[in-house]
C-alpha cells in the first residue's frame, strides 16, 4: 500500500526531458512564456526538476504543523469548512434587524454588520446629506440603535463580525448593549474588521481615521483592552484586500499585509503586551483574484511565511500564534458590467482558489456587484456557489489537494520569494508605518494599478466581454436598485435627535471630558474611554468628533 519515496536522480529523467523539450519546441517555436500578475514567468510544464518530495518535511509538513503550508488545523475543511460570512447592512437599525432575523431563522451562527458610509466616516445621521444615508449599510450611531439592530441576537451565543474602523465605536456600542442586557463581556465573541488603519491610509479612504500617531495609539489600546476585558474578541484583522483592490499585485498585497502585521506586532510589544498571547488574536483578510494558481500559491506562501516570521522573528513558541487565520473575498475588480451573468463563473473560480488556498472564512461576491449594491437574488446565487463547491463538487474532501503539484509547489516558492522581497523593502524603509508616512506604499499601489491597465491594453490580460468576445446587444436588464425610503430615514433622524435630547446630559459631558483628557495622556487606555462613553449614551459622531479634535484627522496623502 505504501508508495516508494521519490528519489532523484531519476533514471531516464534527463533524456525524457530533453526529448520533450525538442518536441515542444518543434510545435511551439520560441514563444515567450507569459508572466502572472506578480511578474513571475510561467513555464509550460513543471516536473520533478522543479520540486521533489525530498523537500516535503522542510517545505510542507502536515496540516496544523509548521511550516503550516498545508493548512493551520489538522482537519482543515474536512473537520470544519469555512464560515459563510456574507456582509449585510442596509437602511435603518430596524431594517437591519429585520434582515438579520431572516438570516438567524435560516440557522446562521455568525453574523456580520456593515454600517452606513456615514458611520465609516465618523458622522451621525444628522451630519451628512440624507440622500446618502443607509444606501450601503445600516445607520447605527447610539447604544439604542445597536440594541434595536441586534434585537434578535443572543449576544453571548452569536459571533459578530463588524466593519468597525477606529475608534471602534461599534464594538463599544455592542459592549454597552451587552451591559444593558446583563451579558458578561467575557462571553462576547467576534472580530473587529477594518481595524487595520494602515490599509485605510494607503488604499481605501472610506474610513474614519485619526492622524497617524493617534491611529497607531488607538489600535494598540483596543488590542490591549480586548485582551484584558473581551478575550473572545479578535481585535485585529490585517487587511490585504484593500491593497490588492487598489492595484497591488497578489505578491505585493501579501508582502505589504505581512509587513503591516509585523508593524502592529512590534507596536504591541513596545506597549509591553505578550506576543505569545496577542498574536493568537491576529487574523487576516484578503482579496481573491481570478489568477487561479497564483492566488492559491499566494495563500500557501503567506501561511508558511507568517508561521516562520512569528516563530523566528518574534520568537513565539505558542503554535496557536503561528496560525495564519484568514477571511477572503472574491475580487470585485475582476467582475464586469458587460455580460454580468459571466461574473457567476468568475466568482466560482475565485472562490475555488480561496478554498484550495486554505481559507477559514469566505465572502463570495454577487454577480451584480459591479452594477450596484448587490440585489437579494444575486446574493443568493453567491451563497449557492459556495454550497455547490462544497457539497456537489466535493472540494473539501481532501486537505490541501494541490499540495505536491510540481507547479503549485514551485509557484508557492516563487511567490514566497517575491513576498519576502516586499517585506525586505519595507524593512529597509523603516517598517510599514514609516513607509506609509513617506508615501512609498501609496506610490507602489498607484504604479501597480497603472501596470495592470497597461497589461490589459497590451493584450497580456484578457477580460471576456470587455477586451475580447464582446457582444453588441445588452439584453441584460438590471433591476433598479432599492434605495432606503426617505420617510423611514427621516423618522430615524428624528428618533436619533430625540434620543440625544433625553440623555443624562451631565453624564454625556463627563464621559466626553474623560475621553478628551485621556487623549492627552499616553498612560490611559483611550478605547476604554470610548466604551465608557458609549455606555453613557454618547453618540458615535460625538466620540469621533472629540478624538478628531484632540488627535487630528488622518487626511489622505495625495501621491501623483
Amino acid at each position: 500500500m505504501s508508495e516508494p519515496a521519490l528519489q532523484l536522480p531519476l533514471p531516464g529523467f534527463e533524456r525524457a526531458q530533453a526529448e520533450w523539450r525538442r518536441d515542444y519546441g518543434a510545435r511551439m517555436g520560441a514563444a515567450a512564456n507569459p508572466r502572472n500578475r506578480s511578474g513571475i514567468e510561467v513555464k509550460p510544464l513543471y516536473s520533478a526538476a522543479d520540486w521533489s518530495a525530498e523537500r516535503y518535511m522542510a517545505d510542507l509538513g502536515f496540516p496544523g504543523q509548521p511550516p503550516m503550508t498545508r493548512g493551520i488545523y489538522p482537519s482543515m475543511h474536512r473537520g470544519r469548512t469555512w464560515s459563510q460570512r456574507q456582509l449585510i447592512g442596509f437602511g435603518t437599525p430596524e431594517d437591519y434587524a429585520a434582515r438579520l432575523a431572516e438570516i438567524l431563522a435560516a440557522g446562521a451562527s455568525a453574523i456580520s454588520l456593515i454600517p452606513c458610509n456615514s458611520v465609516y466616516r465618523g458622522y451621525d445621521v444628522d451630519e451628512v446629506d440624507p440622500l446618502l444615508l443607509g444606501t450601503c449599510g445600516a445607520t447605527i450611531n447610539t447604544v439604542e440603535d445597536m440594541d434595536t439592530a441586534l434585537s434578535a441576537v443572543d449576544l453571548g451565543r452569536i459571533s459578530t463580525a463588524m466593519n468597525d474602523p477606529l475608534p471602534f465605536t461599534l464594538l463599544a456600542l455592542l459592549l454597552a448593549v451587552a451591559k444593558r442586557r446583563g451579558v458578561p463581556w467575557t462571553k462576547i465573541t467576534g472580530t473587529s474588521n477594518q481595524s487595520d488603519y494602515i490599509s485605510h491610509f494607503v488604499a481605501n479612504h472610506m474610513f474614519f481615521r485619526l492622524a497617524l500617531p493617534g491611529s497607531r495609539r488607538v489600535l494598540v489600546d483596543h488590542i490591549a483592552f480586548c485582551q484584558a476585558r473581551v478575550p473572545g474578541w479578535n481585535p485585529l484583522s490585517v487587511v490585504g484586500q484593500h491593497m490588492q483592490q487598489a492595484g497591488a499585485t497578489p505578491a505585493q498585497a501579501m508582502g505589504l499585509t505581512l509587513s503591516t502585521a509585523i508593524q502592529y506586532a512590534e507596536d504591541c510589544i513596545a506597549r509591553g503586551l505578550d506576543p505569545e498571547v496577542f498574536l493568537e488574536g491576529f487574523t487576516f483578510f484578503f482579496d481573491i483574484s481570478i489568477s487561479f494558481f497564483e492566488e492559491i500559491a499566494k495563500f500557501r506562501a503567506g501561511r508558511r511565511l507568517w508561521a516562520r516570521l512569528v516563530r523566528d522573528r518574534f520568537g513565539v513558541r505558542n503554535p496557536k500564534a503561528w496560525r495564519f487565520k484568514f477571511h477572503a473575498q472574491t475580487s470585485g475588480v475582476d467582475l464586469t458590467r458587460q455580460q454580468p451573468l459571466n461574473n457567476i463563473a468568475r466568482v466560482a473560480v475565485q472562490a475555488m482558489a480561496g478554498i484550495f488556498g486554505g481559507l477559514q472564512s469566505l465572502h463570495s461576491d454577487a454577480y451584480d456587484e459591479v452594477l450596484s449594491v448587490p440585489t437579494e437574488a444575486a446574493a443568493r446565487v453567491a451563497i449557492a456557489t459556495q454550497n455547490i463547491l462544497r457539497e456537489e463538487a466535493h472540494l473539501t474532501d481532501v486537505i490541501d489537494p494541490l499540495g505536491g503539484s510540481f507547479y503549485v509547489e514551485r509557484l508557492t516558492e516563487q511567490m514566497a520569494a517575491e513576498i519576502e522581497a516586499v517585506i525586505a523593502r519595507i524593512d529597509t524603509a523603516g517598517g510599514m508605518y514609516a513607509a506609509v508616512e513617506s508615501g512609498l506604499v501609496q506610490t507602489l499601489l498607484g504604479e501597480g494599478a497603472m501596470a495592470f491597465q497597461e497589461r490589459l491594453e497590451r493584450g497580456e490580460e484578457t477580460i471576456v466581454g470587455v477586451t475580447a468576445h464582446q457582444r453588441d446587444e445588452e439584453d441584460f436588464q438590471v433591476k433598479p436598485l432599492e434605495r432606503p425610503e426617505r420617510a423611514r430615514m427621516a423618522a430615524q433622524i428624528a428618533k436619533f435627535q430625540a434620543f440625544k435630547a433625553a440623555r443624562n446630559q451631565a453624564e454625556v459631558r463627563r464621559a466626553l471630558d474623560a475621553l478628551a483628557r485621556a487623549a492627552g495622556k499616553q498612560s490611559e487606555n483611550l478605547f476604554e474611554k470610548v466604551v465608557d462613553a458609549a455606555v453613557a449614551e454618547v453618540t458615535h459622531g460625538e466620540i469621533c468628533a472629540c478624538l478628531r479634535r484632540e488627535l487630528g484627522f488622518g487626511q489622505p496623502l495625495v501621491v501623483a
Binding site: N117, V128, F207, M450, E457, V478, A560
Partner: protein, 141 residues
C-alpha cells in the same frame, strides 16, 4: 513673449470625488490617463465638499469636471451641477465614472451630466470624450 492662445491650451480637467466614500483607484487612474494624453489635470483627494469643487473649478478655470463614484456618492451630483450653474459655470462639462445603476445614470444625464462612464470603459474612449467635451465647454465661454 507670447503664450499659447486659448484654443491651443490643452484641455483642463478637475478629477475629484464628493460625498463619503474614498475608493480612489478609479480617480487616480483616470487622472493619469488624461495627463498622459496631454491634458492638464487638477486632482484632489476624495471627500470634497461641493462648494470646494465649485471653487476649484472657478479658480483653476477647468473645462471638464470628472467625478468618480463607487458607493452611491453619485446621488449628490445633481447638487454639484446646480452649484456650478449658480456660480456662473454652466459651461463646464461634468462627467461621472464608476458604479452607477442604469436608472440612476439616466437621471444624471437628464440632470445635465454630459457622460456616465461605467467600469470597463476604454482609455481611448474616455480621453476622446473628455477632449471633445473640453472643446465644447471652451466654445461656450
Amino acid at each position: 513673449m507670447t503664450g499659447p492662445t486659448l484654443a491651443q491650451r490643452p484641455p483642463k480637467v478637475l478629477v475629484t470625488k464628493v460625498g463619503l466614500d474614498g475608493h480612489d483607484r478609479g480617480s487616480r487612474l483616470i487622472a493619469t490617463f488624461l495627463r498622459d494624453a496631454g491634458m492638464e489635470v487638477v486632482y484632489t483627494a476624495p471627500w470634497q465638499e461641493i462648494a470646494t469643487v465649485v471653487k476649484l473649478a472657478l479658480e483653476e478655470d477647468v473645462d471638464v469636471i470628472g467625478i468618480s463614484s463607487l458607493a452611491t456618492d453619485h446621488l449628490l451630483v445633481p447638487q454639484v451641477l446646480s452649484a456650478l450653474r449658480d456660480a456662473g459655470l454652466g459651461h463646464v462639462r461634468l462627467v461621472v465614472g464608476g458604479i452607477v445603476p442604469d436608472d440612476e445614470a439616466e437621471e444624471l444625464l437628464r440632470a445635465g451630466v454630459a457622460r456616465v462612464f461605467h467600469p470597463g470603459s476604454a482609455r481611448e474612449d474616455i480621453v476622446a470624450a473628455v477632449r471633445k467635451l473640453a472643446a465644447d465647454a471652451r466654445a461656450e465661454t
